[in-house]
Structures are given as structure tokens and as C-alpha cells.
Symmetry: C2
Subunit: 312 residues, 2 copies
């Protein structure tokens, strides 16, 4: 089943202990799409400027990602500059230029309307909600957000949460959103805001999914909804963690969209595929690793994750 | 098979967001022994002062722990005062009084000499080495250490590492010991110093075991030695994290000592039992939870850990 994703398609300048890259293709919707495209059809809604040309377009085309929803306008694309020199787990932002994103009005192409899965990447919750309202009949809606929206745009964010099935955020964001430092208590508080599933990403320690007990599908009503923790792969070298969280989301949601039934077991496997895709994203700068990845490598790494965590 | 453990038996004054306790029974050897006693026979080597009386002795007796190696001398027992008010993952030390520990000369009772497992809890590496040399024929030796010994007593510590099979330390300590911020690279560097197994504890995110590829027993030579990650249980309430790491070590090593063969599968299950015991230790102040724990609760939680991590 096809996924429509709305979010940023951008240029990033990144510095890590492994080196520096200027204006490489980035943005949450880019990482998400590339990652999810290994599992299912992906359709992107975003806005770009005149600096987004054939070379960038080709990255999406190579993965058969539908880009008819990427609007081209006068001006420059969203730009982010950041570094991870002191701490690979946390980006230090040096510069953010919204550019064409400042006036973004998401429009959903007619061809996208039969998408059964919708992903609202980290953008202004007002825009997330506008997209959500235009696609009322999707089967599963997931979304991401960040500290800025949690702190300074809480009312708009709370409206979005009411319409979400799955929220994917990191530890700090979960604790901030709930106003509670205990992860289990924070998870319960967040689940009371709307989503039936909360995926908390722990960076190099993996991610934990908490379930509200509401059913994924009527069939699994009453099934056990205990939390599930997927590890991250202990990596020999983290070249660039940019986009790891969005790649996690793409693997997680892409796998779910590829499944006939949304059972608890499918959600657990989706957590593993999320971790798998997040681990690949870190191995090279920007989207480099995702661009040349094969499905076989993904499946091999899934087995590695199983060996890393399973008793027998 | 019996474990001999050498380390501190102490009094702790602890403050956490859940409250405060004055001079409760503590010390690495205490937590380790209580935890390991659910799996095998445990024998303690330590020194205490006149403040250690029948009430403290009874805590060990209730778990059938051999205390003949606890030397009673004039003076006060080791005392530690700390708090976790800002961060439950890291203790802030307010006061440490070595007291009788300052002149500690570990003596191994004759009755302990047939112990096949030896645990060197976090004490001066000079003392760890002295105990190790007096028990040259043990089957498996594990140990712990801390930032102070890593930074200020490195030569003595490196001598100890040469005689260790398993080292259990936390993330920060592993990175500090190796002088490398990448966990996989740090693990490889630490394994080159002696131990064939390195267990890195991640606090609320669990622990990862790295193996050098040297065999555990001749039988398993050539078996796969991929890393293994055990989660920590997402806990609704962490009352007091004091002793969680030592309780992890007790569960890990106690389980291994209870097994006939030290196979890779036994090491993986030991990681789970370590996490299980660490999770219990946090649920009440000091040793309270370990004192009233049952084997059935341990086995039930082991199943919970499996459900938390296993795909099916």
C-alpha cells in the first residue's frame, strides 16, 4: 500500500568528526522516502526552490518515488547547517533558512488520494493538520515533531496528535511533551493525547514502542500490547547521523505499509526495520548510503539485529 | 558452582526524587551477593567496622551467603553519601569515607578456596590483583572498576585486566579506558587488554556484551561471537538506582556460575538475568527489593524481558 509523506526536502551542510559536506540533498521527507521506498510505493509532498534540479530529482527517480507533489517555486530550498563535532548523538544547528518553506501550502495531487498510509514528517503542526484533514480516509497516520513545536506551538501540535495513530519522537521530546522524566509515565501521558502507538527513539540505544492497548485492527483486539524495544546496531563508525531518525521512520512505516495486516507482530518487525534503516543512514554522509543500498543488505542486517537481541 | 566476591560492604545515605534513606546497608559486594545468591552459593570477602551488627549480618544470612570472609575490625564501615536529584542515571557523590576500608588486606578463608568463580567488585586494583593471585585456579574471573581507577591508577588496573575473563563497566568507563568515543572501537581496544568478554552497561538502556572471539570453553571454539544487547526494563518508577550495576553483575555472574557449560547461549541468558536483577534493585531503596525477592518473580521478569525484545 502506498505512503504519502509531507515534509521538508532540503539542502544540508554537515560537519562531523569524519569530515564535511556542503549543500547535500537532505530533509526529513527525503530520508523518509528513500528509506520507505525499499518496502512500498512512496509519494512526496514538499516545496523546493530553483536550486533543486535534475540531479536531486534523479535521486528520487532512482528509487521510483513519486515526486509529482513536490512543488517548484521561485527562490531557494530549505537549508540547514549543523555539526556533530562534540557529540554524535546531538546535532548543533548553526543555521536554518526556511526559504521557500516559509510560504509552503501543501497541495495533495489527485494521484496521491488513494494512499492508505500517511506520514507527517517534522514540520509546522498547522501544515501537518491541513494535510491530515485532506486525507481523512487513510488506514494509518504516523507523524514526527520536535522540541520547537512542543514548546512554542503546543496547541496546534495537540490538535495534530488527536488525528495520529503513531507518533515517533526521541527521548527528550517524549519527556518534554509529557512534562514527565520517567519514560513509562511519559509514554502513558503521550498515548492519552491521541496516538495508539508511541515510538521513542533512543539514538545509539535503539527505540522503544509503547502501545495504548487500542487495537491495531479489530482482529487483534485483546492481543497483548506490551512495550517492545529494538536495539540500534553498535556501529564501528558513525560517519553522519543526519537523517537517522527519519530513515528509522521510513523503515518502520514502509514495512508496515507493505504488510496486509497491522498485527502486534508486524509492529515489532517494523521496529527492527526502522533500526536497520537508521543504522545504514549513519554509515555515509547525507543520503549516500540509502541511495546505493540493496534489499539484500537490508534483510541481512535484519538477521544481524535478531542475533544481537534474541536468546536463541 | 560457588562464587567468591571481594568488594565493599558499606553504609549508604541516599537521596532520590522518591525520598531519602540514612545509613542503609550498601556496598558493591552486598548488592552483588544478594543478587547472585538467587542463582548459586556466594562467599563474601570484605571488611566492616563496629557499626556492622547483627541486623546487617542477618541480611546476608537470610540469603545463605557465606560471610566468614567478612573481617570485623575497630572503627567505622565504609560510608557513601549521594543523590540522584537531577539525573536518575548518575549519582552525585556528596561524601565518601573509606574508614576501615583504608587499611583493608583481603584474606581468603580456607573454606572459600574451592570457589570456581571469582568476582572482583569495584575496589583498588591493587587489592583486586592480590585476591586474583591467591585464587589462580578459578574457572571464570569477572570484575568491575570505575573512572577513578581508570584515570589515576591505570598501570595497576591494566595488570588486573590481564587476569580477567569478563569486565563489566559502563559506557563512560569503557570509552575512558579505551580513549575512544566509538563504542565498538572502544570495546575492541578493551578486549585487547585481557578479558574475552566486555559487558558495557547503558543504565536505563540495558547493556551490550562484546566478545573477543576467544572461546568460553574449548567446545564452543569457532562458535559465533557476535555482540549481544540486553534491554533494561522500562520502569514505571525508579525509586533508587544505587546498586543496580552491582545487581546486574550478580545476576549475570550468578547465572553463569549456575550453568554447567559456559556457552555463548549461556552468556546471552546471563545478560538477561543481569538486566532482570538490575531492574529489581531500582524498585526500592537500597537492598530492600533484593531482600524480599523470590525466584518466581525473577523468572517471570525474565519472560517479560523476552517479550520486550523478541519478535515472536
Amino acid at each position: 500500500m502506498a505512503i504519502t509523506v509531507v515534509g521538508s526536502v532540503a539542502f544540508d551542510s554537515i560537519e562531523t568528526p569524519a569530515g564535511r559536506r556542503e549543500r547535500c540533498l537532505g530533509g526529513a521527507a527525503t530520508y523518509f522516502s528513500l528509506s520507505a521506498s525499499f518496502f512500498t510505493d512512496v509519494r512526496v509532498i514538499a516545496v523546493v526552490g530553483e536550486d533543486f534540479g535534475r540531479r536531486q530529482e534523479a535521486v528520487f527517480q532512482a528509487r521510483n518515488i513519486d515526486t509529482r507533489g513536490i512543488e517548484h517555486t521561485a527562490g531557494k530550498s530549505f537549508f540547514w547547517e549543523g555539526s556533530y563535532l562534540e557529540n554524535l548523538n546531538e546535532a548543533k544547528t548553526h543555521n536554518t533558512e526556511l526559504n521557500v518553506f516559509a510560504a509552503f501550502e501543501p497541495k495533495i495531487p489527485e494521484a496521491y488520494r488513494d494512499s492508505e498510509f500517511l506520514f507527517l514528517a517534522n514540520i509546522d503542526p498547522v501544515l501537518q493538520r491541513r494535510v491530515r484533514e485532506q486525507m481523512p480516509d487513510v488506514k494509518l497516520v504516523a507523524g514526527d515533531t520536535m522540541n520547537y513545536w512542543i514548546n512554542d506551538h503546543r496547541p496546534a501540535l495537540l490538535e495534530v496528535l488527536k488525528g495520529l495513530d503513531v507518533l515517533l519522537i526521541n527521548d527528550t521530546e517524549a519527556r518534554m511533551l509529557a512534562g514527565n522524566n520517567n519514560l513509562v509515565q511519559a509514554a502513558r501521558a503521550v498515548l492519552a493525547l491521541g496516538p495508539h502507538t508511541l515510538v521513542v527513539k533512543h539514538g545509539e540505544y535503539g527505540a522503544t514502542a509503547f502501545f495504548s492497548g487500542k487495537s491495531f485492527t479489530p482482529k487483534t483486539e485483546g492481543a497483548q500490547h506490551h512495550p517492545f524495544r529494538a536495539p540500534a546496531l553498535p556501529l564501528e563508525e558513525v560517519v553522519d547521523p543526519t537523517g537517522a531518525g527519519d530513515s528509522f521512520a521510513g523503515g518502520f512505516f514502509g514495512y508496515l505499509a507493505s504488510q496486509g495486516e497491522l498485527t502486534p507482530a508486524a509492529f515489532r518487525r517494523a521496529m527492527f526495520y526502522g533500526s536497520v534503516m537508521g543504522s545504514f543512514a549513519c554509515e555515509r554522509f547525507g543520503t549516500e548510503r540509502l541511495q546505493e543500498l540493496t534489499r539484500k543488505e537490508i534483510d541481512d542486517r535484519f538477521i544481524q539485529f535478531r542475533e544481537l537481541t534474541h536468546l536463541d
